[in-house]
Symmetry: C2
């Protein structure tokens, strides 16, 4: 397959910004990505825009990408809207990657954006797909992840303290990331004393509601030298959706495992080779499951893994040096390309005080899902990319 490099990346600050719309957010991310890349607008041949539920909110199911591009002076190229729940931004990157890999295009722009601070329906769940029956009955994402946490505690002895330590680690990183919604550290005690959401999850175990956008410029690797001395290569891209039937093992995501396996095979690498990873810590327990499903530690050992500092900057693999979703917030379609932007900066040594020393290989992982009220089952899509310094 054709080799592909990232030559520019940009993101807005993630925050509640009720006065800004998705077009404004996407424009800022695109302009930053373009400025960081040296790619002239005229070189951009195709674009994808990932959103999970912006359509429902803003009555623009498909036009977000086109409108953003018009605003920055680009028209005439193919622009396609992409959706995949919370993995919508990552899926936009993946389609851009496939478009270049096909040989039909050389330079592509991927955008991911979402606005959650202003909602049409007050009290609607923040899931990317507020599917009717189960969520109407109260089975929202916090309830789902609380069940997972309870089972993980029962099966493996994982503790509330260990879950709290995920938040403590990520919020610790956030102090050095001006793009995060929260930029202050918290203690284990503060996490455990925060208000209950669904037992055993407390407020600080859950990612906040946020607005934001990210954008990535990528091109065929043999052209990357035109734009930058420090391209970041995408060496794997995988996506799988998994079905989680009732009575299944709740403490593992088969979509994570399938996507992880494919990505490692494609990259010719294993978990030990990853220096830095941005993973989908929508809830602290989710990050613990991802350690296990992505092979950073054995099944059931995610709790001790974070407790022993192995997920710290300077540990075995630096997980969420950006602060993760728990600090940055999670604007659904906006998240994936903020993760990729962080890895782009990390591998180029541009991550300032949160820099992972010597980071050469990075990973992003987003997971999006919904509860299928027809099948009475849970569906999740895991999208993984692996990146390497390309110079």
């Amino acid at each position: 397959m054709r080799e592909i490099s990232i030559v520019g990346a940009g993101m807005t600050k993630f925050a509640k910004m009720p006065e800004r719309d998705v077009i404004d957010l996407g424009r800022e991310a695109c302009i930053k990505a373009i400025k960081s890349s040296g790619v002239p607008r005229k070189d951009i041949q195709i674009a994808y825009c990932g959103t999970a539920r912006t359509g429902q909110l803003l009555n623009r199911e498909c036009g977000v990408g086109q409108t953003i591009l018009l605003d920055i002076g680009i028209s005439g190229i193919p622009v396609t809207s992409v959706g995949n729940f919370c993995a919508s931004g990552s899926s936009a990157l993946r389609e851009a990657y496939l478009a270049i890999a096909s040989g039909m295009y050389d330079v592509a722009l991927a955008i991911g954006v979402e606005k959650l601070s202003v909602r049409k329906g007050k009290g609607l769940p923040l899931t990317s797909d507020g599917v009717t029956l189960l969520t109407a009955l109260g089975f929202s994402p916090p309830a789902y992840f609380a069940e997972i946490a309870t089972r993980h505690m029962y099966e493996f002895g994982t503790t509330e303290k260990q879950m709290a330590l995920v938040t403590v680690k990520n919020r610790g990183h956030s102090r050095y990331n001006p793009n995060c919604q929260y930029q202050t550290s918290v203690t284990v005690e503060e996490v455990l004393a925060s208000r209950p959401i669904v037992d055993p999850l407390r407020m600080l175990n859950c990612c906040p509601t946020t607005d934001g956008a990210g954008a990535i410029l990528l091109c065929a690797k043999d052209l990357a030298w035109k734009y930058t001395d420090k391209p970041v290569d995408i060496i794997a891209s995988s996506l799988h959706f998994g079905l989680y039937e009732k009575n299944k093992d709740m403490t593992t995501f088969n979509s994570d495992r399938a996507s992880g396996k494919e990505a490692y095979e494609m990259a010719g690498l294993g978990p030990k080779d990853i220096d830095v990873a941005e993973v989908h810590d929508c809830f602290s327990i989710a990050e613990i499951l991802h350690y296990e499903d992505l092979g950073f530690c054995p099944r059931g050992e995610g709790g001790p893994f974070v407790e022993q500092g192995k997920a710290d900057i300077g540990g075995e693999v630096a997980i969420n040096p950006s602060g993760g979703l728990l600090s940055r917030g999670h604007p659904l379609g906006g998240t994936g390309l903020a993760q990729t932007t962080e890895i782009f900066w990390q591998l180029r040594g541009e991550a300032d005080k949160r820099q992972v020393p010597g980071a050469r290989v990075g990973m992003t992982h987003t997971m999006g899902g919904f509860q299928d009220s027809i099948e009475l089952a849970d569906v999740a899509s895991s999208c993984i990319h692996i990146y390497r310094q390309g110079w």
Copy 2:
């Protein structure tokens, strides 16, 4: 680039079916496509689902494709939602095409589906993107195409009778297509006597509101022999979005021209080589513009082109032998893959009494757009595919 073939296609009947949901419609189309192909479910490696506004209606922004696949017993593969206004289904086909072209996948399924017969907001316009300001002011698609018709009549002497003849031709074809919402012929007099919508457009100049789905199975050409003796090759795929600023020439779509040019170049063919085409006749005047923009006749001569029978089966190029959107109806995301299904049947000689004799090369053309209330401009995406008998 890797060569790609269609090995199976299927569609539901298009009709108002308020009792059926998008999952049910999509499932039927997929099962028909799979049955027509001989592709075992386990061979399908990736899927795309195109919808324009189903999310807003059914509270399922992203999960339509995954739920359809679960219903037909497929999980674990990558599934991505794709949107591009009325060209959403065609864009799903295009992403499937690019995914195989990349070399990462060999067999892909594209789904396009929409349900318009039941709407959340009574009286909302049927555009794929009910953008706020202009449509709230009454500038709906019929108003837009009425302006175009008026200008085309002024510039080129196009007549109401010529526009009516587009409907007469397409409704004539529909008599032999059991998948159409309307399956009866109409006369010029009936079109001209039908109730006014926006002058000069009358009811029978406008496509009806419909529910429906289509599905296409495609694979690398070198594998097609495993599944069928009569693969249909995709020899071009193009997509462009164009901006139509105020005071521009209203009688041509630059997105059509750009996509047409690219598709012809990619196929190494010209308009004269197309035996049969399904084009986006959302309004009769639209089909006349497409004749011109796609090069079937010179600028301004679309009216005489249809009047002289050149767009008939047996004419220079058979346009919309299926009956087109004017007969089949237009369920936004469902349209593109119904067009491709028709061309698949036509090139395989399976189109029954509406068969275009000797059809070897076919084209599909869908156009989707919206009015951008920020730029106060019109935006359209034109998606074109060219197909050839692959045996």
